[in-house]
């Protein structure tokens, strides 16, 4: 039987039964993002850029965070809501040679994890953050998120959202990220390229992927993916447009946290008190 080329990176089954298919609802964008990420990782491994055991995947809680859990045939941690970046910071400090990829959602990253989000980019720790932004809390029933567009009706904004949405890319960029890009699930090749570039860079990289939640938005996946294309515009043409810019927001390498700390270790090595 023909198998999906990325299946080798997943745990299909174990002593306690099958693990696939993923729990995501039909038409969800999260599975697409997993596919794109694994393509990027596969390409890096094939080119000799890193070994499979050098990768660590960390996530928080929410639909997108279910990607690590028990599915990945990699080292991984499915952690606490909002805390993926704090835990990733600890992984990095104990072993700076690892390639850490953080899967997160918009609620996980920007609401409960908002403080960790800005500080991770300020510190410029060597992680790649892949944020699946569907503009709501999917797992808990479609509640409003800090990324929900103004006026949108959700299960907790039945009369329309009176708050404005965060622009996560601008937030990451102004916090000090080395690399920031936004794409959508409707842009597979661009997304794979951006993820690969982000992982290969030393420093904090942020990839936002606008993603569809057909269940809570009550639309068909095809319509939603078409809409993602229609509502976005390449960043170079974004001036004066009301559409959401996609593309690279910044690519400005600066010294990474553990690189700078290394100088302190060298200075202090062997001192007694």
């Amino acid at each position: 039987m023909l198998k999906h080329p990325m299946l080798k990176y997943l745990k299909e089954s174990g002593p306690h039964g099958t693990r696939l298919p993923l729990i995501m609802c039909p038409g969800c964008g999260v599975g697409q993002v997993l596919n794109y990420t694994l393509h990027a990782v596969d390409s890096i491994i094939k080119e000799g850029g890193a070994n499979k055991e050098d990768f660590v995947f960390i996530s928080g809680v929410g639909c997108s965070s279910r990607l690590t859990s028990h599915y990945l045939n990699f080292d991984s941690g499915w952690t606490i809501h909002g805390r993926a970046l704090a835990i990733a910071t600890g992984v990095l400090l104990a072993n700076p040679d690892l390639n850490i990829v953080v899967f997160t959602g918009d609620g996980d990253a920007a609401a409960i994890g908002g403080n960790h989000f800005i500080h991770a980019f300020r510190r410029n720790i060597n992680v790649t953050v892949i944020c699946m932004n569907n503009g709501l809390y999917g797992m808990t029933g479609g509640q409003v998120a800090p990324t929900t567009l103004s006026q949108a009706v959700t299960s907790t904004t039945p009369y329309g959202n009176i708050e404005d949405a965060f622009d996560l890319c601008r937030l990451a960029q102004s916090s000090g990220a080395s690399y920031v890009a936004r794409w959508t699930t409707a842009h597979p090749h661009k997304t794979i390229k951006a993820i690969k570039k982000a992982i290969c860079k030393k420093g904090a990289a942020f990839i936002e992927i606008l993603s569809q939640c057909p269940v809570h938005k009550k639309q068909t996946p095809v319509d939603m993916i078409r809409a993602l294309k229609a509502m976005t515009v390449p960043i170079k043409n974004a001036e004066g447009s009301s559409k959401i810019p996609v593309g690279e927001f910044c690519d400005t390498p600066r010294p990474e946290w553990t690189q700078k700390y290394e100088a302190i270790i060298e200075k202090c090595a062997g001192r007694k008190s």
């Binding site: 960390i58 028990h70 499915w78 704090a86 104990a94 007694k272 008190s273």
Partner: protein, 399 residues
């Protein structure tokens, strides 16, 4: 469990950078960090809070000297979280905080119990609730056991001297690696800021425990179950090639999520409970004096054990009161069967604590049929003086 080799490394980050054996004069906070370094501390994630900041400041100075890494995080939540990540990547990790920060760390403590993650948290207790006060306290001893959500047993130690701050920190790391679980050091402002003599034995005489790893047991990556194999499952580090999936949702031994399988979850919770509570006699320690002839008993922990012992000596020598002394070295798991083995029958059990009576509850539960009464001697924000304790003892025993 074998002792860790403290080999000297090429870069000079071996024992040369550790505290030398012999006599020292240190603050409790410093002794805590020096003990941690000997235990193999590699990562410290911290957040400032009075009266625990000195531990963090000393860690910031000392860690790079041994090739470890220190980071000051944005809050206590993330500080505790860094320990989880560091531990998964194979680095021994600790933090220190006080009441308000300890509250914020409960989320990580619960998570670490379920994911069986070794790490050490020091709570330098101050009085609460709220911001409370910044003197000394034992008001978090119940939070240590019951503050985190869910059925999660915990190990917690109560130091009473600078020597304890050194010894217990090493012991805390050893316990966390042995039992693959978070360990709490329930220190007090008194003991963290106390400055007194410390004796450091020869470094090669100090027992340092390393976690059991699947590769040590001959378990191949494809056969590895992160929550299986044994009562204490072996723990693979990130980067070892074991494709470990850490999961805190109800899970099977192999890390596969146990959806709609309450039996599996119950089995796991029972194992977590057995691991710690079932080994309370192995894990928990007490210290005692004058139990042979005692008609009354004083049970205490932390620095209260020092004023408590002084009061008892005075009561025995000057007033002829036959009172015994028992110190809970380990608060949790509560050494219930140890207490019942050692205490046969006494009149009054006095329990002085720097709270309104917290550990007196499990003490009463353990010994209600072994005594006439349990008398709490509370204190808020200050250590009891030996005189105050003696007065209370004399008042009750009418001597």
């Amino acid at each position: 469990m074998s002792g860790a080799p403290l080999e000297k490394k090429q870069d000079g980050t071996g024992p040369a950078a550790l505290i030398s054996s012999g006599r020292h004069y240190l603050e409790g906070s410093e002794a805590c960090v020096e003990g941690a370094l000997i235990a193999g501390l590699k990562v410290y994630g911290g957040y400032p809070i009075t009266p625990a900041s000195e531990i963090m400041e000393h860690a910031a100075r000392r860690l790079p000297m041994v090739g470890g890494r220190f980071i000051q995080m944005e809050d206590e939540i993330s500080a505790a979280c860094t320990l989880v990540g560091a531990s998964w990547a194979g680095g021994k990790a600790m933090t220190a905080t006080s009441g308000p920060g300890f509250s914020l760390m409960q989320e990580t403590i619960s998570f670490s119990i379920m994911t069986e993650t070794p790490l050490v948290i020091v709570d330098v207790q101050r009085p609460g609730p709220g911001q409370g006060y910044i003197t000394t306290s034992q008001e978090d001893v119940m939070q240590a056991r019951w503050g985190h959500h869910g059925e999660g047993p915990i190990i917690a130690l109560a130091p009473s001297s600078v020597q304890d701050m050194f010894d217990f920190t090493i012991e805390a790391f050893n316990l966390s690696e042995t039992w693959r679980t978070p360990v709490l050091i329930m220190a007090e402002e008194t003991v963290a800021h106390m400055r007194e003599g410390l004796f450091v034995p020869d470094l090669d005489q100090i027992k340092v425990v390393l976690r059991k790893k699947p590769q040590d047991l001959g378990i191949a990556p494809q056969d590895y179950q992160p929550y299986g194999h044994d009562l204490v499952p072996p723990l693979a580090d990130f980067g070892d090639g074991y494709n470990i999936n850490h999961v805190s949702l109800a899970h099977h031994p192999d890390g596969n999520v146990a959806n709609y399988n309450l039996d599996m979850h119950r089995k796991n919770i029972d194992r977590l409970h057995d691991k710690i509570e079932g080994n309370a006699d192995v894990i928990a320690r007490t210290e005692s004096r004058f139990l042979e002839d005692c008609e009354h008993l004083l049970i205490c922990y932390g620095t209260v054990a020092r004023t408590g012992l002084e009061a008892i000596m005075e009561a025995r020598e000057t007033h002829g009161i036959k009172i015994g002394f028992l110190r809970l070295v380990t608060l949790w798991p509560f050494p219930q069967s140890l207490l019942r083995k050692r205490i046969k029958k006494v009149g009054t059990i006095f329990v002085p604590e720097m709270n309104l009576g917290m550990m007196m509850h499990p003490i009463t539960e353990a010994l209600r049929d072994r005594c006439d009464q349990v008398v709490s001697i509370p204190s808020i924000g200050a250590l009891h003086s030996p005189e105050a304790l003696l007065e209370k003892i004399r008042e009750v025993v009418k001597c």
